[in-house]
Symmetry: C2
Subunit: 201 residues, 2 copies
């Protein structure tokens, strides 16, 4: 198969297929072995593409890591907007983050891919580190929005606290390779939500 054929509808379909295969292979390898120890050679083999095709779709390894995290973003963020429309219970939505992947995965436990990327690429000025920090800020903002709808007296504080519990559970699940910390975080979260939404004494 020649992904570098001249432009045509067929080529464009193949091109899209290659991009998807690369991202799928990158997600599997970055998740299981980390970003820095995964090389472009290994990625071309796993995705069944040539190196030229890989670099046609992603100009650099950094670009590929950025795309890998970007495609995970919407699936991992709590959806506060749709929930507001559907009238769902914001308290349940706050607690649901502790019941979902990656904290409650059935497979190998690898924690939060954004926290992990921030560790692997520690330079605060690096685009991937900035993407990870922006993700965690948006995650916190959405928990704050849900905390406000749940009637918390100080939604910013409760949002930050629940995000910190989430990150603690993610870090411990990465270290211990089990999901016990997610359940412990949920217990603390219930207490914090109850205290933050109880009538003032």
């Amino acid at each position: 198969m020649n992904d570098e054929a001249s432009p045509s509808p067929v080529r464009r379909r193949r091109g899209r297929g290659a991009r998807e295969r690369i991202l799928k292979a990158a997600t599997a390898l970055f998740t299981s072995q980390g970003v820095n120890t995964t090389g472009m050679d290994q990625l071309t083999t796993a995705a069944h593409v040539s190196k030229r095709t890989l670099y046609t779709h992603f100009a650099s390894k950094d670009d590929l890591v950025h795309a890998y995290l970007s495609q995970l973003r919407d699936g991992l963020l709590p959806d506060d907007t749709a929930a507001a429309d559907s009238g769902a219970d914001p308290r349940k939505q706050l607690l649901a983050v502790f019941d979902c992947d990656p904290l409650a995965s059935d497979g190998p436990v690898r924690g939060c891919p954004f926290l992990n990327a921030a560790v692997e690429i520690p330079d605060p000025d690096h685009p991937v580190h900035q993407l990870a920090a922006a993700y965690k800020a948006e995650f916190t903002r959405r928990l704050t929005a849900l905390a406000r709808r749940a009637g918390a007296r100080d939604p910013e504080e409760l949002g930050e606290q629940l995000a910190l519990l989430y990150d603690g559970a993610a870090a411990r699940s990465t270290t211990f390779n089990d999901t016990a910390a997610g359940r412990q975080a949920r217990v603390i979260a219930v207490g914090l939500i109850d205290a933050a939404t109880a009538p003032a004494p």
Copy 2:
């Protein structure tokens, strides 16, 4: 300077100096840029040793990472034994973990080196990952011992909860490169300690 001179008292002194220089350089580089992106070539340059000297003291990169973490261990673990002798207030000792390095560092904020190593080397069977997990288990055990001395009704639960808060603060400090999360974790910790040690209603 020739670190590979024939054995003599001078050689042994030089050998010890080289080992210390290597560990010091490794600590600086592993902390600032991570374990996986720091190469043995860069380490020999930073430590002013030959590659042969480096491999005389550390048979492999894994050995060096293991030694780097091992020398940090006692400085970062809360000392429950000495405290028991000195009659210090266990509640203050529990809270002190949130006021100390690495959560309250004056310099660049890089979080917990053991959590970071567990992310960088995700294989649960790898000796470095196992060292990191054993460290966090011992950290939790010591918090549990302090929680017991503080009069917690369920010391295991409180120890696990405080360790989870600590790890959440560490993960967020790595991501956001600031120490705000350590202070937030301390606020939650005060509430959990108070609730766990209050007289039963």
